[in-house]
Amino acid sequence: MVLQPGERHCGGWSHRRLGPWCSPTGSPAPLSCETGCGEGTWILVCRLLVPTQVSLLSMEEDIDTRKINNSFLRDHSYATEADIISTVEFNHTGELLATGDKGGRVVIFQREQESKNQVHRRGEYNVYSTFQSHEPEFDYLKSLEIEEKINKIRWLPQQNAAYFLLSTNDKTVKLWKVSERDKRPEGYNLKDEEGRLRDPATITTLRVPVLRPMDLMVEATPRRVFANAHTYHINSISVNSDYETYMSADDLRINLWNFEITNQSFNIVDIKPANMEELTEVITAAEFHPHHCNTFVYSSSKGTIRLCDMRASALCDRHTKFFEEPEDPSNRSFFSEIISSISDVKFSHSGRYIMTRDYLTVKVWDLNMENRPIETYQVHDYLRSKLCSLYENDCIFDKFECVWNGSDSVIMTGSYNNFFRMFDRNTKRDVTLEASRENSKPRAILKPRKVCVGGKRRKDEISVDSLDFSKKILHTAWHPSENIIAVAATNNLYIFQDKVN
């Protein structure tokens, strides 16, 4: 599927350009910023939507896109479940931002080029490419439908003019090449301008086709399909620092692939017990070390992290390091195990630390200390007394992701009510922000939010009982070098940046 950059494609995403920028006002937020971008004040750059209904109108070419934007995009009832964003990932330079959704689509946004005339446009992302990565499949043997939902996207580092990314659903990983084409060959001998074959008898001279410039086209083509290697649901993929291999992890196994070979993979972790009756733990996430191509970690549903060295043995069932925090006896409950289940694990950019997310906290671990984390941050501890209700409505099983900023000084994760939290590891300050339509004015400054846990509720606070548990921020991403973040809220993608003075 081909999309011209800047084109309002109605079959996929539509970028709603917000009105003229207003100059920001307000006081700086408490979060300090270390990259020299000024005080830690976050402003909304753009909000991007996926209104499927718009595609029905795409048949009529003359529809004014602005009219569509204004009349349809406001009404969320038009958004379908297929539009729910299921993964967000910046590429290694931050120039591109990829999202995957429940409908199996991948949408790539490209950062607006900085220009002297429109400095304030910096940080805005436009649609670059949209394609259908995975389709729903039917496993005839088991009579199961395989969901097309994109679980994860991971970029490969750029090595030539094209961009490569891995996208995966529950069973199949695909390598996609996204490339630009701005030239077209013209002057074929056997075909005329419309592509019809010529009668050879009419050809009297031969010419060499020449490349002529054309309007820029962005193409996405599947280069590799890595299938049939996972019995259980794939939850993670991770590109190795050697750029030749990557791993895919499901509930019980982790496989190592070579990018060039699609018909076989090495199984490097297998925690499936001989007798399934003994199964008490599953793999929840896995990631390669950013620099050491032989090292990776994987987390479990019991709140443990194992670090493995592939040089030690072919099958890394025995870990090199085992990270687990002893249970706090005063906090024990029937739900202790569920809330200790790790939903995401991420190496710091430096490779010295790992961060894990469980239901109520984010923890930072030093690779050299296995018996407890070096830092623990409470994401929403006010939910601790509500665990029974959250168990009842299954919210306790929600899987939140977590991310590091480029300098590993700030970590971010999502919560309910479209809240997301940032923790500054140096100043130990934290902030709660909200990704909501109400705050969607262009360049609007995000006001820190606060949840009231009891007693008198102040004017701007929200009480725990008023939280909307259907609005959860599970997926976020942080630009690799700048203070630009992408936050996915259902079918909305919010891009915020640190205010630049």
Binding site: E277, V282, F334, E337
Partner: protein, 237 residues
């Protein structure tokens, strides 16, 4: 009622499960957690809730393994706290998860025996099914609440012995003409081994016959739904 600091006898099969500590800290009233702990009544509703969740999870065509494992483990904790003195019923097992799921699947596939013949040849490559000791034998005539629950339905033992309606004889006959040599391989657990954990009437079963009937009804629907395509419904249905 919760008794104070009563130590329960440790079952042999529980020894490997560290989560079920001998010291019943849940029952110690001086323990901080108990002070906030739900009363005994809530505990039994928590048990019911967990059983329902397990049930719901198993009903999925492809259960979310993580969800299943967490629910089962939580159920074990609740069970252990609820019945400190009585002998625990057979431990609920997630094993059942993939195999019961597969049973439900194969029960609907069974009606399409023609296509099954060719598909069975590929079974050895499909690891997911290989865990079920008796993937095909477990099906039986509609709605027969067999007393002997299939060993692979360990998790459903929790609900009472009558839920094993997928089991028993009947299905073997369907596949007589199919090469079953693969089932004689050591991948498959021997039948005798499987039956060792047939359920006793465990104490403390909070679920009544209603749940079992619901289970039967559901399975009947599945079977009748597919079989209706092939032959008219049997008498009395």
């Amino acid at each position: 009622m919760l008794s104070k600091g009563l130590k329960r006898k440790r079952e042999e099969e529980e020894e490997e499960r560290e989560t079920l500590a001998v010291d019943a800290w849940w029952l110690d009233p001086s323990h901080a957690a108990v002070a906030q702990a739900p009363p005994a009544v809530a505990s039994s509703s928590l048990f019911d809730l967990s059983v329902l969740k397990l049930h719901h999870s198993l009903r999925q065509s492809e259960p979310d393994l993580r969800h299943l494992v967490l629910v089962v483990n939580t159920l074990r904790r609740i069970q252990a706290s609820m019945a400190p003195t009585a002998a625990l019923p057979p431990v609920p097992t997630p094993p059942a998860a993939p195999s019961v799921a597969d049973n439900l699947l194969t029960s609907s596939d069974a009606a399409l025996s023609a296509s099954m013949a060719s598909l069975l040849e590929d079974l050895s490559h499909i690891e997911g099914l290989s865990q079920a000791p008796q993937p095909l034998v477990d099906e039986g005539p509609l709605g027969r609440p067999a007393g002997g629950a299939s060993p692979s339905l360990g998790a459903l033992d929790l609900l009472g012995p009558a839920t094993g309606c997928l089991l028993d004889d009947g299905l073997e006959g369907l596949f007589e003409d199919i090469d079953t040599s693969m089932y004689d391989s050591e991948l498959w657990a021997p039948v005798s081994e499987g039956h060792k954990s047939s359920p006793e009437d465990g104490p403390g079963k909070e679920v009544g016959p209603d749940l079992d009937e619901a289970e039967l009804d559901y399975l009947m629907d599945v079977l009748v739904g597919t079989q209706a395509l092939e032959r008219p419904p049997g008498p009395g249905r």
